[in-house]
C-alpha cells in the first residue's frame, strides 16, 4: 500500500478546496440559506406540517442531501478531469500507485469535502429552523455513504467526459433533476398514486427518505430499502471504476 501517495493526492485535492473556499463551501451554504428563506420562511409558513414536522424542518434533510450529492458529483468529476485536461495525469499514471489507491485519494478527498459541506449546511439550517436528529449514527452513515457513492459517480463522469461541456451536462440534465424530484421539497405521499410509482425509479428518493428518517423517524420508503439502494449504487459505481482501471478506458492507450 502506497500510503504516501494516497496522502499526497488527498492533501493535494483538499488544498484545492481551501484555495477555492468561497466557491466550494460558501456558495452552496449561501444557496441553501436562500432555499430556507424562500421555501421555509416565506412559503412554508402557509403549509401545514408534513408528517408531523414543520415544513421548514422537513426541508432540512432534503436540502442537505441535494447539496451533498450535486457537490460530490461536481467536485469529484472536476478533481479527476482537471489533470486529464491539463495532461498532469501522466504523473499519476507513471507513479507506483494502484488504481485502488488512486481512487481512495481522489474520491476520499471529494467525499470529505461533501461531508464537511453537509455539516455546514446543517449548522446553517439550525439558524433558520429548529430540528432534532433522532438517529445520529444513521444520519452520519447516510451522509458518508451518499458522499462516497456520488463522489465515485463524479469520478466516473470525470473520466468519461472529454470536454467541459460533457462534464457539465450530466449534473445539469441528470443529477439536478433527480435531486429536485427526489422528494427534497415534498413527501412523495403528497403525489398522485401514478407519480408515486414513477418516483420510485429515482434513486435519490431512497437517499432523501433514509436521511430524513434518521432525523424524524418517518420515511417514504422503508429505511432498510433506503440503505440497500444506497449500498447497491455504491457497488455499481465501484464496479464501473474497477472496469475503468482494468481496461485503461480513456486513461491508458
Amino acid at each position: 500500500m502506497n500510503l504516501h501517495a494516497i496522502k499526497a493526492i488527498y492533501v493535494f485535492e483538499l488544498a484545492r478546496t481551501w484555495r477555492t473556499l468561497f466557491q466550494s463551501i460558501a456558495g452552496p451554504v449561501i444557496s441553501t440559506s436562500l432555499y430556507f428563506i424562500v421555501f421555509g420562511a416565506a412559503i412554508g409558513g402557509r403549509f401545514a406540517s408534513v408528517e408531523g414536522v414543520s415544513y421548514g424542518a422537513f426541508l432540512v434533510p432534503g436540502l442537505v442531501m441535494m447539496s451533498v450529492l450535486t457537490e460530490s458529483v461536481s467536485n469529484a468529476s472536476f478533481g479527476i478531469y482537471m489533470p486529464r485536461y491539463s495532461g498532469t495525469i501522466y504523473e499519476v499514471l507513471s507513479a507506483p500507485i494502484s488504481a485502488f489507491e488512486t481512487v481512495i485519494g481522489y474520491v476520499g478527498a471529494a467525499a470529505t469535502k461533501s461531508v464537511i459541506l453537509g455539516t455546514l449546511i446543517l449548522l446553517t439550517a439550525r439558524l433558520f429552523v429548529d430540528f432534532s436528529i433522532a438517529h445520529p449514527f444513521w444520519m452520519v452513515a447516510f451522509l458518508v455513504l451518499t458522499s462516497v457513492t456520488f463522489s465515485l459517480l463524479g469520478f466516473i463522469l470525470g473520466i468519461w467526459a472529454d470536454g467541459w461541456e460533457k462534464l457539465q451536462i450530466v449534473p445539469m440534465l441528470i443529477v439536478t433533476p433527480l435531486a429536485f424530484l427526489g422528494g427534497s421539497f415534498y413527501s412523495i405521499s403528497m403525489l398522485p398514486p401514478f407519480w408515486q410509482q414513477v418516483t420510485l425509479f429515482n434513486p435519490v428518493v431512497y437517499l432523501v427518505s433514509g436521511f430524513r428518517w434518521s432525523f424524524y423517524g418517518a420515511a417514504d420508503v422503508p429505511v432498510a430499502l433506503s440503505l440497500a439502494m444506497t449500498a447497491l449504487m455504491l457497488v455499481i459505481c465501484l464496479a464501473v471504476v474497477w472496469w475503468i482501471f482494468r481496461t485503461g478506458y480513456k486513461l491508458k492507450s
Binding site: H4, A5, A15, R19
Partner: protein
C-alpha cells in the same frame, strides 16, 4: 553488468491501427546518458511512455533494474523519473506544493531539505511560493524536472528536455544533467537538437518508423560513419575537373573556386599526399585548405534517409 533497462520485442499498435513500435530491442547501460534520436512520429515518445507505464505495450517486455514493468510494476516505476515533452503543469499550485506532491506520489516520505536542494539546483528556489501558471516556459520546464527528481529516481527520462529553452538555460541544463550522471543516475533523453546528443550522450540510438536502426557509442558512431572533407580554395577557378584527376572523388563548388575531396578518415591511405602532388604537377595552385568532419546531424540525416 546487467543493463538497467532491457527492452525485448516491444510492439505497440494503437486502437486507430497505427503501429508505433515494430519490435524494439534495446539495452541501456547503467549510469550512461543515452540519446534517442529520431524524426517526428518515429516512436520515441511511445517507447518512453511504455517504459514509464503510461501506455500499454501490445507485445514484448521491459525490465527496469531487473523488475518487469508489468508483473513488478511498483518496484519498476519507483525507480523512474519522467520529464514529459509537453509542458503539462498544474496551474494554481505553488512550485513547492507541486514538487512535494510528486515525491509523495512516488511513495517517498516528505523530505523538505531534498526539495530545497533540488529547487536551488534548478534556480527555482526564489519561485517556490509562486503559482506554476505565473512562470515562464523555461521555468515550467525546470519545475517538471524538479518533480521528476523529487523522488530520487535511478533512471531519468527526458523527453525533449530543452525544447523551447533559451541557449543560456540550455547550457545550464546540460550541466545539471552531467551532474546527475556523475551521481549515478542513468539518463535517457530524446531530442531534436542533435547538437545536444553530440554534446552530452555516451551512447546514441536512432529510431525510425518504429524500429531501432542503430545503437552505438557516440565516439564509435562518429568515427565509423563520419566522412571527412578536404576543401581547397583555388587561385584561379576551374570550369571542370581536369581529366587527369578523374580517379579521385572530387567535386567543384563556389563557381569552380573550391575543389572538395571527400575521404575516409579510417583508411590508412587517405590519398591526400598523392592528390596534392598531382595538383602541383598540373599547375593547379591553391591559396588555402581546410578539412572538416561530418557532424552527428549529417550522419543522422543520411541514416534516416537511407532507411526511409
Amino acid at each position: 553488468m546487467q543493463p538497467i533497462i532491457e527492452i525485448r520485442g516491444l510492439e505497440k499498435t494503437y486502437a486507430s491501427g497505427f503501429q508505433a513500435l515494430k519490435g524494439v530491442d534495446l539495452d541501456i547501460r547503467r549510469g550512461e546518458i543515452f540519446a534517442l534520436l529520431g524524426p517526428n512520429g518515429a516512436g520515441k515518445t511511445t517507447l518512453i511512455s511504455i517504459v514509464c507505464g503510461i501506455v500499454r505495450a501490445t507485445a514484448g517486455s521491459v525490465t527496469v533494474d531487473g523488475h518487469d514493468i508489468v508483473r513488478d510494476w511498483r518496484a519498476a516505476r519507483s525507480l523512474i523519473g519522467l520529464v514529459p515533452q509537453e509542458l503539462t503543469t498544474e496551474a494554481f499550485e505553488s512550485v513547492w506544493a507541486t514538487v512535494s506532491f510528486s515525491r509523495g506520489l512516488f511513495g517517498k516520505p516528505p523530505n523538505p531539505a531534498l526539495i530545497e536542494r533540488i529547487l536551488k539546483d534548478l534556480s527555482l528556489w526564489d519561485k517556490k511560493d509562486t503559482k506554476v501558471m505565473a512562470l515562464s516556459g523555461g521555468m515550467k520546464r525546470r519545475v517538471l524536472i524538479a518533480k521528476a527528481l523529487s523522488h530520487e529516481p535511478r533512471v531519468l527520462f527526458l523527453d525533449e528536455p530543452t525544447a523551447g529553452v533559451d541557449v543560456e538555460l540550455r547550457r545550464g541544463m546540460w550541466e545539471m544533467i552531467g551532474r546527475l550522471r556523475e551521481s549515478g543516475v542513468t539518463i535517457i533523453l530524446t531530442t531534436h537538437y542533435i547538437e545536444e546528443a553530440e554534446e552530452m550522450a555516451d551512447s546514441i540510438g536512432v529510431i525510425s518508423g518504429g524500429r531501432i536502426i542503430l545503437v552505438e557509442e557516440k565516439a564509435a558512431l562518429m568515427e565509423k560513419l563520419g566522412k571527412r572533407l578536404l576543401t581547397l580554395h583555388l587561385q584561379s577557378p576551374l570550369d571542370a575537373i581536369p581529366a587527369e584527376l578523374a580517379g579521385y572523388p572530387l567535386t567543384l563548388s563556389d563557381d569552380g573556386r573550391e575543389l572538395v575531396y571527400s575521404f575516409d578518415s579510417q583508411h590508412e591511405h587517405t590519398g591526400i599526399a598523392g592528390l596534392l602532388r598531382k595538383l602541383g604537377d598540373h599547375g593547379i595552385d591553391f591559396t588555402n585548405l581546410r578539412t572538416e568532419e561530418s557532424s552527428l546531424e549529417e550522419i543522422f540525416v543520411s541514416l534516416v534517409k537511407e532507411r526511409a
